[in-house]
């Protein structure tokens, strides 16, 4: 019960200290808002130059009426199909000028549509699909694939994308966004005909998972780590430097009761902050949430026990708040870099990977992702939870030991 007295006292102090109260309530919100706003998975407003030289005419071989000319205007349609949120489209006439602008960094890409673009596209489509019925002047006729080109020296020109790939994230976004504009250009029911890929993709998760969805669980874990380690270790250091810890430890209170008291208070705070982070990311940024929130809270609860232990250890090592801050940075930065929050552990050099797997945040992150994105149940996150439980128990023991040591150093 003394632990509970200590916890209550922590809350009473926070309630009466506006700065700490702000840190507790507003920091997670600030964190997730900043993240949600600044981190967007799809690029927006990318400047794309379009040079459309398409005559719009397609010459199609037919079974019934020989070769016919159809005004398809596929170049114009393609430009209309481009996502106008993703691209800010600038029209130019001269392909060379367009190329120069991209090279000068004035636009991210230039899409060059050659004079026989419509013709090229239809020929390619028919070559892939084989004979196909089309509607021509109100009658249905059978369009045939083109014959092999007679003049090999003058093959039809394909469209060209001049791409500034100096920024891989943007480059990776531009290409699929343009590919998407090709789909449905000729046949509304066919999406893979013109697409650069003929492979049919079957995603495991029905709705597409964006990069924002993918990083959100990690960012939540990271925010909890950052805030709770800071809050707990600074509180304990302050308690020691002010002498109140001496009073606590001289009273008939055991070291574990002090540790547990602190832990209890800051666990409740961590859960509150987790709720804040989840609700904001879900309702404000529409982050994917496929799993059961109870498991999310369970993961955060177990992980936080370990974090409280780390914070207590930091507070033992630090002589004052400033030193505590330095320890926090030294521990936090590598643990965030090597946790798979922003890039998967599998992409790290093999020499670094074992360290990443020793990092509890990696496992918290994986568990949160498995629940939030994959919608997995408790039974499927047992491996990650086991690691986190081990971490929590180890840190709990060490933190009680270190609390005893605090008594020696007061």
């Amino acid at each position: 019960m003394k632990s509970w007295s200590i916890s209550k006292n922590v809350f009473r102090r926070i309630r009466r200290d506006p700065r700490t109260l702000i840190l507790v309530v507003l920091t997670p919100l600030f964190f997730i808002l900043l993240y949600g706003i600044s981190f967007s998975s799809t690029p927006k407003g990318l400047k794309l130059i379009v040079v459309n030289q398409d005559t719009g005419q397609a010459s199609i071989r037919t079974e019934q009426v020989g070769r016919v000319n159809v005004p398809l205007n596929l170049g114009k349609k393609l430009i209309e199909n481009l996502d106008h949120d993703v691209f800010t489209i600038v029209v130019r006439d001269d392909p060379d000028e367009a190329r120069r602008e991209v090279e000068m960094g004035e636009a991210w890409g230039a899409l060059l549509l050659p004079p026989y673009f419509s013709n090229f596209l239809v020929s390619e489509a028919l070559r892939r699909s084989g004979p196909r019925e089309i509607d021509y002047n109100g009658q249905t006729i059978n369009a045939l694939p083109p014959l092999p080109p007679v003049n090999e020296n003058n093959p039809p020109q394909p469209p060209t994308l001049i791409l500034d790939n100096s920024n891989p994230v943007i480059a990776a976004g531009v290409y699929p966004a343009i590919s998407k504009a090709f789909t449905g250009l000729i046949y509304e029911d066919e999406s893979t005909l013109i697409d650069s890929s003929l492979m049919a993709i079957q995603p495991v998760y029905e709705k597409p998972i964006t990069a924002l969805d993918y990083t959100a669980p990690g960012v939540i874990g990271f925010a909890i780590t950052l805030i709770s380690i800071m809050l707990t270790s600074i509180s304990i250091v302050r308690e020691r430097t002010s002498g109140t810890l001496t009073r606590l430890l001289i009273a008939p209170v055991r070291a574990w009761e002090v540790s547990v008291g602190y832990m209890l208070a800051f666990l409740l705070i961590a859960l509150f902050q987790a709720a804040e982070l989840l609700l904001t990311s879900f309702y404000l940024f529409g982050i994917r949430f496929n799993g059961n929130p109870i498991w999310v809270f369970l993961i955060i609860l177990i992980f936080s026990i370990g974090l409280q232990g780390v914070a207590t250890l930091i507070s033992t090592l630090a002589k004052n708040e400033f030193q505590a801050m330095q320890f926090i940075l030294v521990i936090l930065i590598p643990s965030i870099m090597l946790s798979g929050v922003f890039w998967p552990v599998e992409t790290m050099p093999s020499s670094i990977q074992p360290i990443a797997w020793l990092n509890p945040l990696t496992h918290a992150n994986a568990a949160l992702r498995n629940v939030m994105l994959r919608g997995w149940d408790l039974s499927r996150i047992i491996p990650e939870l086991s690691v986190l439980i081990g971490f929590a128990i180890l840190m709990l023991i060490l933190s009680i030991q270190s609390m005893k040591r605090q008594a020696d150093t007061v």
């Binding site: 007295s5 109140t244 001496t246 009073r247 001289i250 009273a251 008594a407």
Partner: protein
């Protein structure tokens, strides 16, 4: 008479530097004992050993009849550290209630006792004031009250009267004497030599050794000095002359 504190041959070194050197000290039940010594003489180290925070390298210490560290001692020991050691954002009463809870005292009893003690230190009108808003002297007084909230049998006060005005200092010493009549023992460290005269017994600590111990007038007689400042110097010089 039962001894409240009994230390025999206490020695403690830090990094090879001797802080306590076979120190002997005893405080009897109901005694007001002043431990006097310049800074660095080992007072704080002795108090830390007494409170069970550190272990001596050699020697024995018993507090209230038990060897320490002992959990039973902790509930009967009151300690006022040199720092304020209060929660600045909480009010006086909230601080007292919290520390009272740690001693398993019922809420009503804590409040009742807090009221009485605050009256003694003339802070009864400030009980709902937050600590941060108090003056240095007021904080010291609250700290004193906290160390006595659980009616300890032994109270250890580390420089209790620093920053407290003379009138209140007199009142406090008077109160300390009153406490001893209830069989409560007090061990006080102080720099104010004149305060020492109000104690039953004085111990002079120099370089980790208790160089003299006795009632105030005995010590004056022994040193042949007129004041305690002179007495301390004379006794310290004498201790240095005679090799241990």
């Amino acid at each position: 008479m039962e001894k409240s504190v009994e230390a025999e041959g206490l020695s403690k070194k830090f990094n090879g530097f001797t802080v306590l050197d076979e120190m002997n000290l005893s405080v009897e039940q109901g005694q007001l004992y002043a431990l006097i010594g310049p800074s660095g003489s080992g007072k704080t180290t002795f108090l830390r050993i007494l409170c069970g925070f550190i272990r001596p390298d050699a020697g024995n210490i018993q507090v209230l009849g038990w060897r320490i560290p002992n959990f039973r001692v902790q509930s009967q020991l009151g300690y006022m550290p040199q720092e304020t050691a209060l929660y600045p954002d909480l009010t006086i009463m909230q601080n007292l209630e919290f520390f009272g809870e740690l001693y398993d005292l019922p809420h009503d009893q804590v409040r009742e006792r807090a009221e009485a003690l605050l009256q003694l230190v003339q802070l009864e009108n400030f009980k709902n004031q937050s600590i941060a808003a108090l003056s240095g002297g007021m904080k010291r007084r609250v700290s004193l009250v906290v160390s006595m909230i659980h009616k300890p049998r032994l109270i250890v006060l580390d420089e209790p009267t620093v920053g407290i005005d003379p009138r209140l200092r007199v009142a406090l010493w008077q109160y300390f004497r009153e406490l001893t009549q209830q069989n409560i023992s007090l061990l006080v460290t102080t720099h104010h030599m004149d305060e020492a005269t109000r104690c039953h017994k004085i111990g002079l600590l120099s370089q980790g050794k208790l160089i003299a111990e006795g009632a105030p007038d005995e010590l004056l007689k022994e040193s042949g000095a007129d004041s305690f400042d002179e007495a301390f110097t004379a006794l310290e010089d004498r201790a240095k002359e005679v090799p241990a």
